[in-house]
């Protein structure tokens, strides 16, 4: 077990080094950071939103959109690079199992996405913290209640987004393990992410609480094959209205996320095990 972890970590390390050098990563990283920083300039359009909510939304949006794109494209790209360049030949000829290989790829890509989330969240925290302090001062002067802004909640939200991206990476790895081309993996992976965002809606529309039976069970399983990615979008509540998040919500969301990561990695290993390199 220790040796297996050792090998997976080495695969992860090299995958991380490879990913962090990609121009695509740098591009989306800069774009995401620019979006967070630009929110300060676009505040004039906030239409009386809680200003902090407006700032936060830009940050949440950047993490969501660019993180998802990175998760899908980078995973497919790094996987197929090993296949197309035939480095997979060299690696899998060593005493490295396919499960260890996939685990290593997952950890490496997830680590890069962790850097992405951490930096963007730190930028957002700086923007929110600075503006919240200013607004709190103004509120004291006007004898109003200061706006709520929980930076610890932002840290929790960042962790949730990192986990969400982990689910996406695991899902795309499962698709890539079966796919023949990079483009197919990207397209299907993106569709799977989209479906994951809409999974809650399919549940609401298709699963009527009163119905039971085999059909209902089949529909239930079908709608739950894909993870419900909407459950990770708790930014508004965690950062701006912490009292809205009930105790016990976050542990369940984290557990659900981890479970999906494991399930998709198992599926990926199963699909990859007989693949001809």
């Amino acid at each position: 077990m220790k040796a297996a972890c050792h090998r997976s970590l080495w695969i992860a390390r090299i995958t991380f080094l490879e990913a962090i050098r990609q121009r695509f990563f740098a591009f989306l990283f800069i774009l995401g950071a620019a979006l967070v920083l630009a929110s300060g300039a676009v505040r004039v359009f906030d239409f009386g939103h809680s200003e902090l909510k407006f700032l936060a939304d830009f940050g949440f949006g950047g993490l969501f959109l660019f993180g998802s794109i990175l998760g899908v494209v980078m995973t497919a790209q790094l996987f197929f690079a090993e296949i197309d360049n035939r480095t997979a030949l060299t690696l899998l000829a060593k005493p490295l199992s396919r499960a260890e290989f996939l685990a290593g790829k997952f950890l490496g890509i997830w680590a890069v996405l962790g850097v992405f989330v951490l930096v963007l969240a730190a930028l957002l925290a700086a923007m929110l913290g600075w503006r919240a302090a200013e607004l709190a001062q103004l509120a004291v002067e006007r004898r109003l209640a200061p706006p709520e802004c929980d930076l610890a909640g932002l840290a929790l939200y960042a962790s949730l987004q990192w986990l969400r991206l982990g689910v996406i990476v695991a899902m795309v790895l499962a698709v890539a393990a079966a796919a023949r081309t990079f483009l197919f993996a990207v397209v299907v992976g993106a569709l799977a992410v989209l479906a994951g965002q809409l999974q809650w809606l399919s549940q609401e529309l298709l699963l009527k609480p009163a119905e039971t039976g085999l059909g209902h069970a089949a529909l239930w399983l079908l709608t739950h094959l894909l993870p419900n990615l909407q459950q990770f979008n708790l930014g508004d509540a965690l950062v701006l209205a912490p009292h809205q998040v009930t105790a016990g919500t976050l542990p369940w969301v984290f557990l659900s996320g981890v479970a999906y990561v494991v399930a998709f990695l198992v599926l990926a290993t199963f699909l990859f095990r007989r693949r001809e390199i």
Binding site: F47, G61, W220, L229, Q231, L234, T249, S256, Y260
Partner: protein, 282 residues
């Protein structure tokens, strides 16, 4: 059979994960009001928008609002204006601003646009004008009600609904009800309680107005730094109008004596005592 075993295992794994995910979603959705509120039940279109845009939706809402606002300024595309403004509300249902301004646009403006579209005030008969204005006012109220639910009972939105009910629908009772809810909500506007009592009073429900206003002053307004002297003055006027016996009136406050225009109350002109909060009305 042996070949099917791994697939069975995968099936069981995803089944277990699905059960876990269900439990997680049950809790998480409560923190997502735009999804979690059963009474909202977003349409498929709204649901797709919420799902697809994720964290970006409120930014998209703002830009949708800008477009709707431009159409509002032009005043020649009622349907387009309403559609865009409603879209902004759907994308960011927690924003009071969108609900408030959409409700006001529909309630106050669109009736007049429709009259103009039909030929103008000289051409359209008065009954039709009233019907249209009332119809759009009702529509605006429905929107405001939806907004009140989405925003969790925002006090300012309740006050806006009260204003529309009073000015457009001429329904003082309904207006008073909204003002009362606004007064009892978080961050209540300073005037909400006063207007609630005033509208109830104007509707002839004077005793009810006083009882509620008095209870609210004792519970909430009195705790303000200055003790809400203006509200207390209104209550004193009500007590005088209702000719309440001294014992049924609010006790004199220590700081009241120093207030400008203070008039000590007496039992002069008081009618037969009636219990505070009773149903007798003048």
């Amino acid at each position: 059979m042996r070949r099917a075993l791994p697939w069975v295992g995968l099936f069981a794994l995803f089944l277990a994960v699905g059960v876990l995910a269900d439990q997680s979603w049950r809790r998480a959705r409560l923190a997502l009001p735009e999804i979690g509120r059963r009474e909202l039940e977003p349409t498929v279109g709204q649901g797709v928008l919420l799902g697809v845009l994720g964290g970006f939706r409120t930014v998209v809402a703002d830009f949708t609002w800008i477009r709707g606002y431009v159409l509002w300024e032009r005043k020649n595309d009622r349907a387009g204006t309403e559609l865009l403004m409603r879209a902004a509300c759907a994308l960011d249902p927690r924003s009071r601003f969108f609900w408030e301004n959409t409700g006001l646009a529909v309630a106050n403006d669109m009736g007049h646009w429709e009259i103009r579209r039909r030929g103008g005030y000289a051409k359209v008969p008065k009954e039709i004008q009233d019907h249209l204005l009332r119809g759009y006012a009702q529509r605006g109220m429905v929107l405001l009600d939806e907004g009140i639910v989405s925003t969790g009972g925002d006090a300012a939105l309740l006050a806006t609904a009260a204003l529309v009910a009073e000015l457009q629908l001429k329904d003082l009772g309904r207006s008073a009800d909204y003002y009362r809810r606004a007064a009892e909500a978080r961050a209540a506007p300073w005037f909400a309680a006063r207007f609630a009592a005033a509208n109830l009073w104007k509707e002839g429900r004077r005793r009810e107005a006083y009882v509620w206003y008095r209870a609210h002053w004792l519970k909430v307004l009195r705790l303000a730094e200055d003790g809400s002297p203006d509200d207390l003055k209104e209550l004193r006027d009500m007590e005088h109008e209702l000719r309440l016996p001294l014992l049924q009136r609010l006790p004199q406050q220590s700081w009241e004596v120093s207030q400008p225009g203070f008039v000590p109350r007496t039992n002069e002109g008081v009618t037969a005592p009636s219990p505070v909060g009773g149903q007798s009305r003048k």
